[in-house]
Amino acid sequence: MKSAKEPVDAQTPNAAWTVMNNLIAGILLYGGVGFLIGYFLGNTSVGLAVGAIFGIVASTYLIFFRLRALDGGHNTQREA
């Protein structure tokens, strides 16, 4: 049962909101970066699209590694 013993970032409601916040931040940030790159190279729509997709990929990597690191390695599938 999750309680104050578990670190705050590993409890499930906080982890779910953290996942969503990371996703939104990644998409907005890299969408913005892609938009700026597209502005200087000519085509803002393509830049925005590429930036948003890169943001999704980067956020998914971040979430995957964070979730793996949160459990500290003692609850992963390697112990069977």
Partner: protein
Amino acid sequence: MLGAVVPMAEIEPGCHLGNDFGCGFPAPDASIFEIEPYFGSFTKPVFLLLLGSLIIIIFFLAAFRNSKLIPGKLQSVGEMGYLFIRDGISREVIGKDGDRFVPLLFTLFFFVWIGNLWGIIPGAQFPVNSRFAFPVGLAITVWLIYMYLGMRHQGPIKFFTNMMFPPGMPKAIYVILAPIELISNVIVRPVTLSIRLFANMFAGHLLLTVFTVATFYLASLSLVGILGSATSFLMTIIFTAFEALIQALQAYIFTLLTAVYIAGSLHAEH
């Protein structure tokens, strides 16, 4: 019989389904949230908020005045409210040394909840948090609190390095992921906190308005009119109950996330 719609213009002139006035369904849009101020710039949400604060103060003063060891009825209810925040939210999330934040969480919870409750109380049907300024003010307060606490507890530089480089990850992706973490914790948190509360209250009020207007508009002496009007009235009642649940839930989520952000500032990731 099914298609014939008897106009209600003789009984009550207005915008009904079968009258000849030519108005369509008056769909409510965002302009129903703009209400004339009473005087100066003293508007209805401000009045409801002051009245709600007065009610909370009077209730809890009356509950905890002359508190006995074996509580009477009013004191029991007051204690239930207080212990819900202290045991259910604060001690679960922050731990026992977070007891100094219980007054803040208690105030936030009841303030948000009574602001929401004005949406279903007849006479004043306007949820205060459906005007965007009120959730934004609360979210900015929470943001200032957890930023200040984090910087004071962990030092200003270490607060940001702990946030941007969480331990246990392959070193190569830190470059890409540090900006995401920074923006996610500093900017996106208060934005989602305020938008979640605002959007839920806005949508709930709009939904209730649509069903109420539909009850009025479909009222005519025909099968379509009677069935439509009765169904809309039933849906209004059902959605009022659903709205009461959502209001309490949103107040709880706001307080819970505030406690989580405070705990995240106090205990850094190891």
